[in-house]
Structure formats: structure tokens, C-alpha cells
Symmetry: C2
Subunit: 203 residues, 2 copies
DNA sequence: CTACCTATATACCGACCGGTATGAAATGTT
DNA sequence: AACATTTCATACCGGTCGGTATATAGGTAG
């Protein structure tokens, strides 16, 4: 990978920090979407010129994938933590509250980059679409397995299908992202979460 | 409005049907989004040339608004019908099932044009964003009022807030649109709907 | 028929798109 | 000092974007 710092630095040293630049790029993609983010806007936010960007990150598509990686690692870390909750209900609570703070929080753009990409990249070239879809399916499968475990542990009634319950929860989470992007405030989403958790079956 | 047929037809008659053309434009917007739909693609799908489009519909933004009007009138007619159900649960059932057939149905593009526009037009000029937001809020308010009525009629427990319940339901509906656009099939959404309706409070 | 009006088709506009060629500047190596 | 290597800054590439000027074709009104 070209953007990783080689052990022996030959040639003119790079004048910017790739991680900082990638963080800036992530923010642009986050609020403009993949197509909506222009190279001009990206380079300006990253504080570098286009040739530097292409030399370090490849092209727009590769930059987006790296930004999405960073996004999942930093902003979606709460998902992994949520799966470690003691009960199925605890998992749902942590996911829903994490979604509020992450997608409706302080200085970051509202809404989920993954959801946004799912919606906008329906017709994009398959490379980037598959990249987004894989991540989504992976976390959903992890959630299903967690609820299957919860069912064996008595967290969920025998009547509920763990797969359907997991998909219902992700549906709510994705809907919350839409609402956040549409301008809903954290308080409004809090009401949705509380209502949904009241309806939640089991412990 | 220029595209309405005047009673006395002077000048060369138009060679296309504006409603048919608008239907074709709606389909393009539906699967490409507002920004993703190019004028070239639109004119080709509509079977007319660019000057004809501009003369009849104004510009891209005006065309999109007219298409969104048509969309709500034709494809979202089930929403108005759903509000006429006898009970709050009946309303939810009709909305959720209508969402499946509409957003995951046969020949039409998957997903909801309104949700898609909400997500993609976050940064668009305010004119089109407000246009989308107004529609969304209007239907949400109607749903809230319907659930408030349902609560007085005993459809809902005293413990639930009709506003929060309505917003929770719209969250699920919007999430279903995301899932449909992401490739989920009707059967998968059916599982979500069934699970959610099982959790539904009251009749 | 002539005058007038409107829709059509073609070609074009400046602006922006993602991406790159080019040459100078800055380092390590010899 | 001379060279190899890498980054930087500038200017530029063909293509597409939304939108339009222009001229012609097809109608009604008189």
C-alpha cells in the first residue's frame, strides 16, 4: 500500500499526515455522499492537492473505501461493544443509544455513512456497492448469532425468530439514520428508542 | 402552468403526452435519485428532447417536484387508505404491508423515493430539501393525529405516547425502504413486519 | 394565402467532473 | 557534487453536467 510509511524514507518527504487527511475526507463523504463529494471539495478539506491525493490514496473509489474503513473502526466501534452486552435486550439498548449519539451527535454529520451509501450507491459500479453491502451483512449476521445465543439463554421468548428480530432491529437502526439525516434531533430519536424498547420481547 | 393543455390550441401541437413523460421521469428519479438522474437520461426515457422538457416542465428541479407529486399521488396512495383503518393496529398493518408491496414490488424500482431524497438531498439547495421535508412531516403529523384518536378510542394503552409510537412506526417504514434499496426481498421484509406487529401494543 | 404562435431538432454554452502530464523542490544515497 | 527518488504545485485533459440560442416545422386565426 503506497500510503503506508516505508521504513527507509527516500525522496522528498510527504508534507501531510495521511490519517488526518483521511479523517477530513471521511467527513466530506459523510455529509456529501460518495457521488456528491467532488475531488475539489475533498482536496480542499484534506489540505492537499489532487496529485498528492492520487499518489497516496489511489483514486476516489479507493479513498472512499479507506474512509469507510476508518468510519467503521472509529464511529461504529459501539456496535462491537454492544454485542458484548449480557442480554439480548442489553444489546438492543446499546445499539439504539449508540446510534443516537453517533448519528445525531455533536460535531459530526448526521446520519450513518453506511446507510447513506446503501441508498445512494444502488446504481453505482458494483465494486463500491458490494463493499458497502458486505459490511452491512456481516454485522447483521453477527447480530443474528447474538440473538440466537440469547434465545438459548432464555433472553427471548420461544415464539420469536432471532433472525427476524435482528432484522427488525436493524430496520429501526437504519430508519433512525434516515430520520437523523432528515433533521430529527436526539430527543426525538430518544422517544422512538424508548417506545421500541418498551415493545421489546424478553430481557 | 405551461404544461396544462390550453382550451384553444394555438401554434404547433405538442407531440408527446406530458403525463406519460412525467411517469417516465419519475421512474428515472426513482432509481437514480435527484442528482444521479442526468438530463440526458431523463430526456431519453421520456422520449423527448431537452428544449421540449424545459418548455413543458421548467427545469430539472421543477421536473423532480412534479415527479414527486405524481409519486405521492400514485404510489403512496395506500398511506391515505391506511389511515382509514378501524384501529391503530390496522393502520400499522396496512402501512407496513403497503410499504412491502410498494417498495419491494414487481416492476417498480425498489425503495421509497421520498426516503431516498431525504438521504441524498441533505446538502442540496434548500428549495428541494424543504419540499421533501414538508411532505414527510405532513404524513407523520396525520399519523400522530390518527394514533391520538386511536388512544381515545382505546386502541392503545395509556402508557404509550401516540407521537412516539407514530415516529417509531415511520422509523420502521423508512428503515424498510433502506433495506429494500439494499436488496432485501419481500419475504425478508415480511419477517420484519410480522415481528414488529407482534410487538405492537394494543389493538 | 399571410401572419402569428408554439413545439421541434440541432448545435452549442460555460462550468464542473475525475484524473493526469510536467517540471520544480526536497530528501537520501553514492 | 551528482544522482535517484519521491512529493509538490500548476496547468491541463476529454467528458459530462444543467441549460439555452437558433432555426425550422406544424398548427390556428384572420
Amino acid at each position: 500500500m503506497k500510503c503506508s510509511a516505508p521504513t527507509t524514507t527516500r525522496g522528498r518527504p510527504r508534507e501531510f499526515d495521511p490519517e488526518e487527511a483521511l479523517t477530513a475526507a471521511l467527513r466530506v463523504f459523510w455529509q456529501r455522499g460518495y457521488e456528491g463529494a467532488s475531488m475539489a471539495e475533498l482536496t480542499e478539506a484534506m489540505g492537499i492537492t489532487k496529485p498528492s491525493l492520487y499518489a497516496c490514496f489511489g483514486n476516489k473509489e479507493a479513498l472512499f473505501k479507506k474512509a469507510l474503513d476508518l468510519y467503521e473502526r472509529d464511529k461504529l466501534a459501539y456496535v462491537g461493544k454492544a454485542l458484548e452486552a449480557a442480554t439480548a435486550r442489553g444489546v438492543a439498548e446499546r445499539l439504539l443509544e449508540g446510534a443516537i449519539t453517533t448519528h445525531c451527535g455533536g460535531s459530526d454529520p448526521h446520519g450513518c455513512l453506511g446507510v447513506m451509501s446503501t441508498v445512494t450507491c444502488t446504481m453505482e459500479d458494483p465494486s463500491i456497492r458490494n463493499f458497502v453491502t458486505e459490511r452491512r451483512i456481516a454485522t447483521e449476521e453477527a447480530l443474528i448469532e447474538r440473538f440466537e445465543r440469547g434465545k438459548t439463554e432464555g433472553d427471548l421468548p420461544d415464539t420469536v425468530d432471532p433472525r427476524c428480530l435482528a432484522q427488525c432491529l436493524t430496520t429501526v437502526l437504519q430508519g433512525m439514520s434516515v430520520k437523523a439525516q432528515g433533521g430529527s434531533c436526539a430527543q426525538e430519536l430518544k422517544g422512538v428508542v424508548d417506545t421500541y424498547l418498551t415493545m421489546w420481547p424478553g430481557r
